[in-house]
Amino acid sequence: MAIFEVFLKKDGRDEFRHVGALDAANDELALVSARECYVRRAEGDLLWVVRRDNILSPEREFTAPNADKPHRHHSGEAVAARRKALREMTKAQPDE
């Protein structure tokens, strides 16, 4: 038996989303089980079933350093705050 991960997508909108996993003896049974276990109420139109062994998944440390880099976040909040402050300063001193 092997573990398979199951992904579903609605036709024409959204992206594939992970919906769960299953055990199966081979690829065909994985597809058959995925159909009966995860799509029996038409939860998706398109189905991906992937052997978990085929997913490349590095250790947590591989991504951890990027958790602390606020300078890479560009939500625009800092710039917007500076522009707002500048506008208010101009309003306060209209004749200068």
């Binding site: 299953l22 003896a25 081979n26 065909e28 009966e36």
Partner: protein, 248 residues
């Protein structure tokens, strides 16, 4: 709606009752099948069979739930037209898997009898049912493909095959008015006319069966019930009987 003759009703009921009880039997494996994926798959396939029974019942009585319940659940035992294969309790998983495969191998052929039916609704329902049956057979075959290659599993499956085969032959027992339904064009052949094709499928799947050695069941034109029928029906009515007037 098409006018349903007495003969048509008879052959439709034979299919309704088989589908209904087969669906019930499959869904009873929820939570107790050998592994989670299988008990979900079995219940899901069972729900398809219940859906087929419901479509055929609607063809007989319309969409009124009370009428459907009366016909589906509250007939005298002698008025049911199910076969022993779907009435019998099979506590062993391997027997159940064999019943699933043998039933679905015949079910496809049975729907084909409705494909050119003089009752248009039956022809329409058969198209939908056949599209679903393909996946039921794929499920059974995919499991057997794996299990038949393992010595121990192979032996158990072959033992189950020979245990279930005499029961499976009851599927080909025609309802009392089947001959009239044939004349009316409701069906394009009798159930017994499917036996040869079905036996070939069995031989192809499991290797040649010595059919002369298989005990022939006593046939009753589907008027007699297996001993397991009464307790099965009691389980089915357990909730419905709490309050027959309530809308679920």
């Amino acid at each position: 709606m098409n006018e349903i003759s007495i003969a048509a009703r008879d052959v439709i009921l034979a299919f309704v009752d088989d589908e209904h009880l087969m669906g019930q039997q499959h869904t009873e494996w929820i939570g107790v099948a050998p592994f989670l994926e299988e008990d979900l798959a079995f219940a899901s396939i069972g729900q398809d069979e219940l859906g087929h029974a419901a479509m055929l019942l609607e063809a007989l009585v319309g969409t009124d739930d009370a009428d459907i319940d009366a016909l589906a659940f509250y007939r005298e035992a002698s008025q049911w037209r199910s076969c022993a294969l779907v009435e019998v309790t099979l506590p062993e998983w391997s027997d159940t898997l064999l019943r699933h495969w043998l039933y679905d191998a015949a079910e496809e052929l049975r729907w084909q009898l409705f494909q050119g039916s003089s009752v248009q609704l039956l022809a329409d329902i058969s198209v939908r049912a056949l599209s679903e049956e393909r996946f039921h057979r794929q499920h059974g075959d995919a499991l057997l493909d794996v299990l038949l290659r393992v010595d121990d599993a192979h032996d158990r499956i072959m033992a189950s095959l020979h245990k279930v085969l005499p029961l499976a032959l009851t599927m080909f027992d025609g309802a009392p008015s089947e001959a009239d339904a044939l004349v009316e064009g409701v069906i394009s052949g009798s159930l017994i006319s499917l036996l040869g094709d079905w036996q070939q499928r069995v031989d192809h799947r499991f290797g040649p069966v010595d059919w002369d050695q298989i005990v022939r069941p006593v046939l009753s034109q589907r008027k007699e019930r297996h001993d397991d029928f009464a307790p099965l029906l009691a389980r089915m009515l357990e909730v419905l009987d709490l309050d027959r007037t309530v809308t679920w």
